[in-house]
């Protein structure tokens, strides 16, 4: 039986950021900043005055925009909205947790690694039955 041809769809998309000032400034220097006709940006700078609600709103906005393919979020910011990040299951946009200047990366909090770890623990329990 002949295999089906794999048709690839491609589209251009943006990288969004929810991070501290230095991280956002650095990535904006690398050219990822976008301001659309409604003056909406693809980034949120998080500082001591940024509320958890503002971070949640930005996360929800970026995950529902069709022109965003990757969201970079500092891990310490992701920890503030951990429930929201861990319950997000779509392949696009991809949520990447990144370290920040003052908070190094902790693999124990990464949502992708947590899922894989859970899978291994489930598998080892399942295989123990046979």
């Amino acid at each position: 039986m002949a295999g089906r041809a794999q048709i690839k769809t491609s589209s251009s998309a943006l990288i969004a950021m929810i991070a501290d000032e230095d991280t956002v400034t650095g990535f904006l220097m690398a050219g990822v900043g976008n301001v659309d006709l409604r003056r909406k940006t693809n980034y949120l700078i998080v500082d001591s005055k940024t509320t958890v609600k503002a971070i949640e709103d930005a996360f929800k906005e970026f995950t529902t925009r069709e022109d965003i393919a990757i969201i970079l979020i500092s891990q310490y910011v992701a920890n503030m909205i951990r429930f929201l990040v861990d319950s997000y299951n779509n392949p696009i946009p991809a949520i990447l947790e990144i370290p920040s200047k003052d908070h190094p990366y902790d693999p124990a909090h990464d949502s992708v690694l947590s899922r894989v770890k859970y899978l291994f623990s489930t598998e080892s329990v399942a295989s123990g039955r046979y």
Binding site: R4, A5, Q6, I7, K8, T9, S10, S11, S12, A13, L14, I15, E21, D22, T23, V24, T25, G26, F27, L28, M29, A30, G31, V32, G33, N34, V35, D36, L37, R39, T41, N42, I45, A69, I70, L72, P91, I92, A94, L96, I98, P99, K101, P104, Y105, P107, V112, L113, R115, V116, L119, T122, E123, A126
Partner: protein, 184 residues
């Protein structure tokens, strides 16, 4: 397990690159002054991103969605690079007549035309880089330029991480479904 190991290696590499970028940014802020490097100066006028992503998805796979990300750096003018393969294919398209000449002459002319195209591309990319830094003033610290390069490298690593994450989650879904069906 191999994927997890590769994922963690990439994260470690990303951390090192970002650390270098933050350090260079702090050095540039120290030499140029804090008022010259802050987010108040960011460009709030309507403008497209100079660096974006190309997202590819196989529609042939009905049971899983595994997107693939490709970074397109400095492509707002249409002259930036998406990947080395795409840059080469665009150069081939520009010079189809070279295919009909003798092989050694073809090789030399193709090398020269590739070099010329490559230089033009590099010039365009340099112009885009300078334009991006121009929000901080006409004269900027060399440390700001090296910080820019560090963050560009970090973007490349992030795209690799995104692709690795995508394949890990796809494999996770398949195993999860298989476990679910075997228990049922």
């Amino acid at each position: 397990m191999d994927s997890m190991d590769a994922y963690l290696t990439l994260i470690h590499s990303l951390s090192s690159t970002l650390r270098q970028g933050w350090l260079d940014l702090a050095s540039a802020r120290h030499s140029m002054g804090a008022s010259r490097i802050n987010t108040v100066l960011l460009d709030h006028k309507v403008h497209p991103a100079a660096t974006s992503l190309l997202v590819t998805q196989d529609e042939g796979k009905v049971d899983s969605v595994e997107p693939h990300f490709t970074l397109c750096k400095w492509a707002s003018s249409g002259n930036g690079k998406c990947s080395p393969e795409e840059a080469k294919s665009s150069q081939d398209k520009l010079h189809p007549q070279l295919r009909h000449r003798g092989s050694s002459q073809l090789y030399e002319e193709k090398t020269l035309s590739e070099d010329k195209a490559s230089h033009e591309l590099d010039d365009q990319v340099q112009k885009e880089r300078l334009k991006s830094l121009s929000v901080f003033g006409a004269l900027v610290s060399p440390k700001l330029r090296t910080a820019q390069l560090s963050f560009e490298t970090a973007l490349e690593t992030l795209v690799e991480i995104a692709n690795m994450r995508s394949s890990m989650l796809c494999a996770f879904d398949k195993v999860h479904k298989k476990l679910g069906s075997s228990e049922g």
